[in-house]
């Protein structure tokens, strides 16, 4: 019985993903195989780069959602929050043109504003949940409606468009590459690494897990439960604002249909990645794979006309269920007794 002491599981330090991540990784590989079989262009550089860039939005938001969910919360407002932040950013930047011209300053003002709004919106969600003692589901359902209608109001039901001159300055943030990778992908990578470190290598991450696992244990361990929970929403807000900062230069506009259903996609990415919806166990690595899986499904469906367009949703639903099943089935069990 001394083996237990002798062969402690080596924490696979910067090896990065933990072993269980194998499930989603395999699901992703299978999907890529299917994509390639349908159309070799799937693996073309252009498509891979498109795919990664698209994953960046949902991925960045999902990194934030991993914290919220790990700590036992949920945030349904992220899609609407992204829309309203994008809207306000555009209004602010258009307004700043008069004073600051169409240069980098204006763009930075916009980004600063986005970050402040993101943090603020997250903080509101957090405080209503913790201090207001209202179920997170209700709070964020409420703010979801509020943000969505605010952006509609700001846009007068239509679309807010960024001043064309600023677009020139801001465009590269979405369209340019650096070292072969588009900038949004770099942002995604940085956010993922920071998220991973925060969740797995800091006390904050442990506190999130502890709170999600058992709130009273956390409280009895002198953890400031309310503060940590609020912080998870703030991180979520920050992630949304980062995602928005790289989203706006893409089309330079925001409307009431911006970010619709992103919340479900983000939560789905988190859960496909193996994080437990009820909290207490979170995996950033899995979340990233989850985001990639979701984007790849959509991408593959655009690559074939074998199935009726109308059945896209069916394929999507089936693939999500199968992908999660893959990691829960015998697979999961094998790794567990390991």
């Amino acid at each position: 019985m001394t083996e237990a002491t002798m062969t402690p599981t080596k924490p696979n330090r910067f090896g990065g993903f933990d072993f269980k991540t194998a499930g989603p990784a395999i699901a992703l590989l299978i999907l890529c195989g299917i994509g390639f079989a349908l159309n070799p262009a799937f693996l073309s550089e252009g498509n891979i780069s498109n795919l990664l860039t698209r994953s960046a939005f949902i991925g960045i938001i999902a990194v934030g959602a991993t914290f919220v969910i790990t700590a036992g919360g949920i945030d349904l407002s992220v899609g609407s929050m992204a829309a309203v932040i994008a809207g306000v950013m555009i209004i602010v930047m258009n307004g700043a043109v008069d004073t600051f011209g169409t240069g980098v300053t204006t763009v930075l003002i916009g980004c600063g504003c986005s970050i402040i709004l993101g943090i603020g919106a997250g903080w509101v969600n957090g405080v209503l949940t913790t201090k207001g003692k209202i179920e997170a589901f209700i709070v964020t359902l409420g703010t979801m409606g509020i943000y969505r209608s605010l952006v509609t109001y700001f846009a007068d039901g239509g679309t807010l468009s960024l001043n064309y001159d600023i677009r020139g300055v801001y465009r590269p943030v979405y369209y340019d590459s650096f070292g072969g990778l588009p900038i949004p992908v770099w942002v995604f990578i940085v956010v993922s690494i920071c998220g991973w470190l925060l969740l797995n290598r800091t006390a904050f991450g442990r506190y999130c897990t502890a709170i999600g696992s058992n709130e009273s244990v956390a409280q009895y361990s002198a953890i400031k439960v309310d503060r940590i929970k609020t912080m998870t929403y703030v991180i979520q807000g920050l992630c949304v604002s980062l995602a928005t900062i790289i989203y706006v230069p893409r089309l330079g506009s925001a409307s009431s249909s911006t970010g619709v259903l992103w919340e479900l996609e983000a939560i789905a990415a988190v859960i496909i990645g193996g994080t437990v919806l009820k909290g207490g166990y979170g995996r950033i690595g899995g979340t990233i794979l989850g985001a990639l899986i979701l984007t790849t499904i959509g991408n593959i469906l655009n690559f074939t006309d074998m199935i009726s367009n109308y059945l896209n949703g069916t394929m999507q639903g089936l693939i999500i269920i199968i992908a999660v099943w893959l990691q829960r089935g015998d697979w999961g069990r094998k790794t567990k007794t390991d």
Partner: protein
């Protein structure tokens, strides 16, 4: 040790502390002081208010009146375990670990060691590994709590407490789930801490332990302070009498002999299941069969497999002549085979619910009239159970999670008994139960066995197994090492089988 010396000055003291929950009073003006370098035992019946007092002494609850003083100065302890910063540490009676996290994460929860902005994981692991070794616990710091047995969890709690820099260490029934061997290891740690000048408060229902380790003893009864005395002046019998307030007769009832020809109600042949490696035994009608062994020896696993809670991989189980074991707990229950879990918090009771739904949950089909649950019958059952098992909840509408540990255990026993079992398997029947009630439960077990119910008692308390059982099965690492009967049933023999020093034919 003479009183009045500086090392024996009182560190932490409760002065005239009273506590009520809502309108229900639980403690009445209790005074108690803890000195540096002493082990102070607190004993009393279930529901006497021990846990409540401990929580007040460590800041988790605020007294309704009276006050706490630390180093002689009156103080209002900060809530939620923040008084750890003042050197006052409490191990809760109810396990207080985050299940999905690892041992290391739990031990350092809330006071992680850091290296710059990130955690110093290597140092934390090594520290925990060191503690685990000291206390003789053979698990890895990276094990998940949910994969540990209750006893191991309890040991982790102890490691957690020891690892804190405590001046006063308060432990609420730390040994309830431990075997004697583990208890001994634990006590050696306690002695080390005492010698370092830590004041230790320790709640236990195992009076022999109290005699063995405590310097002073405080007795509570029904929320009242009864006495504080030197442990050496107080033999266990006297303690029991002070707690219960009456003379206790023999703890163990006389055993009814089992009829030699009694039918074999349960026969197990070559059973292989998770953590069980091929065991065979049988159980006669009216027999009390003890199961002994070290922690993790697989006793629980055997009966979980038999009762349909875990898959049977090989071997046969036949109950009442019916081959084939049970596919579900419901099938086992309907056949009259019920299992009472040792893990009352995770597997036994719905802590957020009241007593009534908990009591009838297992035997619910019995309470149906047509489709409807018969509320009157439930009320009657609750009334009966409260009387029969002496369940003491001052507020009958209290959530079960807020009941005292011992009373939860009694409720759990009552819940299982509602099924009118023919084979009753009790895992750790008296964990956390006071002597008075213990005696009642032993007599109760003997009585139902006399009526023809077969009882399996899985227990880590050696005297209990010895005092109750007709035969004792000893397990080690998933196998049966011996089945003892008659005069063989004694502590010496059992320990030798359990440690693998001896193997019997059976």
């Amino acid at each position: 040790m003479p009183d009045g010396q500086s090392i024996n000055a009182s560190v932490l003291a409760a002065e005239g502390v009273s506590k009520s929950f809502g309108s229900v009073p639980v403690l009445f003006s209790i005074s108690m002081d803890i000195r540096a370098g002493e082990v102070h035992a607190l004993i009393g019946e279930n529901g006497a208010g021990k846990s409540t007092l401990m929580k007040i002494l460590s800041g988790f609850l605020q007294p309704t009146s009276g006050h706490i003083s630390l180093d002689g100065a009156e103080i209002s302890l900060p809530p939620n375990g923040q008084s750890e910063a003042l050197g006052v540490v409490l191990i809760h009676q109810e396990l207080n670990l985050a299940e999905q996290m690892t041992v290391e994460e739990n031990v350092f929860l809330g006071r992680e060691l850091r290296k710059g902005a990130t955690l110093d994981r290597a140092r934390m692991r090594d520290t925990v590994a060191g503690y685990l070794e000291d206390i003789g616990l053979e698990i890895s710091p990276d094990s998940r709590i949910s994969d540990l047995s209750i006893a191991q969890k309890q040991m982790v709690e102890i490691v957690k407490a020891i690892s804190r820099d405590a001046r006063v260490l308060i432990m609420d029934e730390p040994t309830a789930a431990l075997t004697e061997a583990e208890t001994a290891l634990f006590f050696s740690q306690i002695e080390r801490l005492r010698d370092k000048g830590v004041g230790i408060v320790f709640v236990s229902h195992k009076l022999a332990e109290v005699s063995a380790i405590a310097d002073r003893v405080t007795v509570l009864r029904d929320g009242q302070w009864i006495a504080t005395q030197k442990a050496s002046d107080l033999p266990p019998d006297a303690m029991a009498q002070m707690m219960v307030g009456r003379e206790l007769s023999d703890l163990y009832p006389p055993l009814n002999e089992v009829d030699v020809d009694a039918e074999k109600v349960l026969q197990v042949q070559g059973l292989v299941a998770p953590a069980v490696k091929g065991i065979s035994f049988d159980l006669k009608r009216g027999e009390i069969l003890g199961f002994s062994g070290l922690i993790g020896s697989g006793r629980t696993a055997v009966f979980e497999a038999i009762c349909g809670l875990a898959p049977i991989e090989a071997g046969t189980v036949s109950a009442f002549g019916q081959e084939g074991g049970f596919r579900s707990v419901a099938a086992a229950r309907d056949a009259g085979v019920v299992y009472l879990t040792k893990d009352r918090k995770e597997k036994g009771l719905l802590l957020a619910q009241k007593m009534r739904p908990n009591l009838t949950l297992f035997a619910l089909p019995k309470f149906l009239r047509g489709m409807r649950i018969d509320g009157k019958a439930e009320d009657a059952a609750l009334e009966r159970a409260i009387r029969r098992f002496d369940i003491r909840a001052r507020d009958p509408n209290v959530d079960v999670g807020d009941m005292s540990g011992g009373n939860q255990q009694k409720l759990l026993l009552a819940k299982v008994m509602e099924c009118d079992p023919k084979i009753l398997i009790i895992d750790e029947p008296t964990r956390g139960i006071d002597v008075g009630t213990k005696q009642q439960i032993y007599h109760f077990i003997a009585a139902i066995a006399a009526e023809g119910v077969s009882v399996v008692v899985i227990s880590s308390e050696m005297p209990e197994v010895i005092g109750l059982s007709h035969r004792v099965v000893v397990m080690r690492e998933g196998e049966i090492t011996g089945i003892l009967s008659g005069d063989e049933i004694n502590e010496n023999e059992i320990v030798r089988y359990a440690a693998g020093l001896k193997r019997g034919e059976h």
